[in-house]
């Protein structure tokens, strides 16, 4: 036993390099498509070329006879596979039955119709061309507002009005607020459909073990445990005979927070043919058949006094659901409704959501999921109000924030904002940007006839999803922390990080708690055969909820460690510090590795103790967390080309306590890049027949290296009281804060032409036309 203790410096709060990086940077990480198994077969899926059609006949014999083809299946074969699940429930929700393969009708371009299984991927693809499908095309509707018009084609013939659901909320007294208002501003605002575009498409390897009667499903997903429960139900097998393994995941952004037809289909095929089978989605399939995001047409009205005090909000949110409900489709716009008032003090809210069926692929969670739409709308509305009242957009915001002493702040939509000082990031962003100087520069630019704009967005978000009462499958998270006999530490988390870097931030937390080196902590996730049940990674929850479960498991473990340390030190007064138990009387210490060895050898046990050093915790949060921040974009529009130049981008975010500033910066940068994509470049375009025009990466404008500006990033740190780590979450902040800052900036730039609003994306063509017409849309 040693008599000195080395107190290691805390590693939480430091920008340590990621533990994930070595395998990623060398190309040795294993993603689904990198998995090969003996006897593996390959599946390819035939998809509908029509947005709406009856299937009259499917002829598969030529495909089945093609050399190398193992099997061909159609919807007739898979009738017994359970429907693709929707976990969200709303009163009066219309939920069409969603089979894994179409049977008598197709509802969107990309709808799976048949599957070929072959010895080789090329052969499977060849054989798809040999399947003959006789379709009888039907009228289609791809625009949600057109779908609501009387006489529009019915997406599902049983519901001719195309309404999937309506949902209403009244908070405070909006009618009174509007009656008392000096000014009301109104605007129709579109948050266009976006394609999440994870670099790695979806992919599944299903492997049935006939001897063990178990199925292993490797899937690129954000929710391995939920997938296990849901796919087991779909294919009718006991959940404990299905193991879902999530290997490295090449991005999700919400698109893999889902259970798709293909996961159950591949599971069913592997059981049917008795071989492992792989399906890797092509990019075109990814664009046609993996969920899209956003898809809002919103009608907002904001009421205010002439001094700029906002009194109330009326909102009509039209959500394009697509043809079906995927896992959370109807729930996403409810997040928009909750977030509709933004971070302002008014509590009078009257809001309605109309969910609409269209002949398009379903919408669902995409980075921000409902909150970017809401933030975009309220931030546009506040700018419209400022313009109407000829107030500075910063001033009107500062006037309407609740003060730091008003938290927890109850909103008009039923939320309780945990903590905040909303003016702080705005003031800091204005200071970094040199706001007054910028306005001066703008005046000079305008005198020269240049279109220079300054745009502010101040956002809040609902993160750390969340209390179980708010989530259809539970909102808790689990952790097991195990000190191995050698003293090395293994963490099993129910979350499923896929690029965010939580193997590192979790290890930081554990390293500090247990006084071990970062390299001595291994974080395991994404394998239902190893990890206790968990929920997954989405909604900026992984650190705030999953990290907290780890924190509490460490506390339990430390109690056990001290019991063993006390026994070994023959003292009843010990502390655990710097990776060792120390006797407070003698100063003698015993390191964790020796304690662990004793705990597993178990020759003698402390009173009431069990052998081993393991602790498992399931943690239920009491509330969401509410990160916030302020972004300022300075843009200049070239009147000759309509091109927007981002001259400055300042982001001041408050995500609570920061565990690793490197990871936080990365999340902000990436989030801003995606917000910028929505603001300037991206749009999933369906033509009037429901054909997806932006069907490949050639046609869909994901931001490239040249398109993402330098970001001047800073923080305020307001700890969340919801969890002991004080963290709030940061995965979606950049995306939520960005698009209104950019659009407000461009509208500000073009305001001398009388421009008050422009819908995204702000393409050069759109702006050039607007300028050419003197600002008249």
């Amino acid at each position: 036993m040693a008599t000195t203790v080395t107190k290691t410096e805390p590693i939480v709060g430091k920008g340590v390099r990621r533990k994930e990086d070595p395998r990623l940077i060398t190309g040795t990480a294993t993603y689904v498509d990198d998995i090969e198994m003996p006897g593996m077969r390959y599946a390819a899926i035939l998809r509908s070329p029509h947005a709406a059609a009856k299937i009259l006949r499917i002829e598969t014999s030529a495909a089945a006879a093609h050399p190398g083809v193992v099997a061909v299946f159609t919807g007739d074969d898979t009738r017994d596979v359970g429907p693709v699940p929707c976990a969200a429930s709303l009163p009066g929700l219309r939920a069409p039955e969603h089979k894994v393969l179409a049977t008598d009708r197709v509802y969107y371009v990309g709808h799976p119709v048949a599957v070929v299984v072959a010895a080789d991927r090329y052969v499977a693809q060849d054989a798809l061309d040999l399947i003959e499908v006789e379709y009888e095309p039907q009228p289609a509707v791809a625009d949600p507002e057109k779908a609501l018009e009387p006489g529009a084609p019915a997406v599902h013939p049983e519901w001719p009005d195309n309404r999937a659901f309506t949902y209403q909320h009244e908070g405070g007294d909006a009618a009174k607020a509007f009656a008392e208002a000096d000014v009301v501003v109104k605007q129709r605002i579109v948050s266009q459909r976006l394609i999440p575009t994870a670099m790695e498409t979806r992919g599944v390897v299903a492997a049935w073990d006939a001897g063990m009667r178990t199925l292993t499903l490797h899937s690129s997903t954000q929710i391995p445990h939920l997938m296990r429960s849901l796919v087991a139900a779909m294919v009718g097998m006991p959940e404990n005979r299905l193991r879902v393994v999530t290997p490295e995941v090449g991005g999700g952004f919400g698109s893999k927070l889902n259970v798709y037809a293909e996961e159950a289909l591949l599971a069913w095929i592997s059981m049917r043919i008795g071989k492992p089978v792989k399906w890797i989605e092509s990019r075109r399939e990814n664009y046609q058949a993996t969920i899209h995001g956003r898809g809002h047409v919103d009608y907002y009205e904001l009421a205010a006094r002439k001094d700029g005090t906002i009194l109330g909000l009326k909102a009509k949110i039209i959500q394009d659901c697509g043809a079906y409900h995927q896992l959370l489709t109807p729930a996403i716009p409810t997040l928009s409704l909750l977030m509709a008032p933004g971070i302002y003090r008014f509590r009078n809210v009257s809001a309605e959501i109309i969910g609409v069926f269209t002949n398009c692929v379903p919408t669902d969670a995409y980075r921000g999921a409902g909150r970017p739409e809401a933030t975009h709308c309220i931030e546009r509305m506040v700018d419209l109000l400022a313009a109407e009242l000829k107030m500075d957009p910063a001033e009107i915001r500062l006037k309407n924030f609740p003060g730091p002493d008003e938290f927890p702040f109850e909103t008009g939509t039923g939320l309780s904002y945990d903590s905040g000082d909303y003016a702080a990031p705005l003031k800091k962003a204005m200071e970094i940007a040199g706001y007054e100087g910028l306005r001066e520069e703008q005046r000079r630019a305008r005198n020269e006839g240049r279109f220079l704009g300054i745009g502010i967005s101040t956002y809040g978000e609902i993160c750390a999803l969340g209390p179980s009462s708010a989530l259809p499958a539970g909102g808790w998270e689990s952790a097991t922390v195990r000190v191995e006999p050698s003293g090395k530490v293994t963490v099993a988390t129910g979350t499923s990080p896929h690029g965010q870097g939580e193997e590192t931030s979790f290890a930081q937390i554990v390293a500090d708690e247990l006084g071990v080196d970062l390299d001595d902590v291994e974080v395991i996730h994404g394998d239902t055969g190893i990890v206790q049940y968990g929920i997954g990674t989405f909604g900026s929850r992984t650190l705030a909820v999953g990290g907290t479960a780890i924190h509490y498991a460490c506390q339990d473990l430390k109690t056990k460690i001290k019991q063993w340390g006390a026994m070994l030190l023959e003292s009843d007064d010990v502390r655990f510090e710097g990776g060792a138990c120390v006797c407070n009387k003698t100063g003698k210490s015993v390191p964790l590795a020796e304690i662990a060895a004793a705990a597993y050898r178990a020759l003698k046990l402390p009173p009431g103790a069990e052998p081993g050093l393991v602790a498992t915790r399931f943690w239920e949060p009491s509330n969401f967390t509410f990160p916030f921040g302020a972004h300022i974009a300075v843009t200049e529009v070239d009147p000759e080309t309509g091109q927007v130049e981002i001259k400055r981008y300042v982001a001041v975010d408050d995500c609570g306590r920061i565990i690793n500033p490197l990871l936080v910066a990365g999340q902000i940068h990436g989030g801003v890049a995606q917000g910028l994509g929505q603001a300037l470049y991206e749009e999933a375009v369906y033509d009037e027949n429901g054909q997806l025009v932006t069907g490949e990466l050639m046609d869909y404008a994901v931001p490239k290296a040249t398109m993402v500006p330098h970001i001047e990033s800073s923080h305020t740190e307001t700890p969340s009281p919801v969890n002991p780590l004080g963290v709030k979450g940061v995965g979606e902040a950049g995306t939520i804060g960005c698009s209104p800052a950019v659009v407000n900036s461009v509208v500000d730039a073009l305001s001398p032409l009388g421009v008050k609003h422009i819908d995204m994306p702000l393409t050069p063509e759109k702006l050039w036309r607007l300028i050419a017409k003197g600002g008249q849309a």
């Binding site: 060398t26 190309g27 670099m199 790695e200 090449g250 690029g499 990365g666 890049a673 490949e696 040249t706």
Partner: protein
Amino acid sequence: MRSPKESQVRKLPESGVSRRGFLQGVSLGGGALGAAVLERPAEAAQSGVVGPGEVSITLWVNGKEHELRVEPRVTLLDALRDRLGLTGAKRVCDRGTCGACTVLVEGKAVYACTTLAIDAQGKNIQTIEGMTRGSELHPVMKAFVNNDAQQCGFCTPGFVVAAKAFIDEHPNPTEEDVMNGLGGNLCRCGTYIGIRKAVVEAAKAMGGRNA
């Protein structure tokens, strides 16, 4: 390191398969054996058409010779990934738009998804797997890690390979040069800010002209 030029591998004849010739051959119905890429010179002399059945080819990857049989339509990416087990290069767009499949052919960055394996014969091919020396990371890799230039990692091997090729051509780049030079690669996680810094740092570490 051995290279194909020093080796016994047969050199492509002058009338080797051009992409156009290959496409014409296929459109004529194919079936005929022949072409330069076949192992036996006697067959090579027959015609300019290969496929559609498998043909034997030799690829030089990361200094090693690999003999394999592939259909002429098999892309270099599929040959590397599915036949040689070199899965570092990724299939993302399969259309030559995103750069995730980038490998070096004769030191030049190419999209392996739009290169036929048969067209890569007789050339030095380097993949991400060939950039490490044992456990030693390449300076570009080190700089990527230092600058947090990867998140999900799926585009990363393509970016690292493209960055190496870029630095070889532009040993002393500015961040703006990097922005333009790596315009052929996509990262959806939006790590461009880190990537730009990483490439400048790597170029300095690799002894750029003014460094």
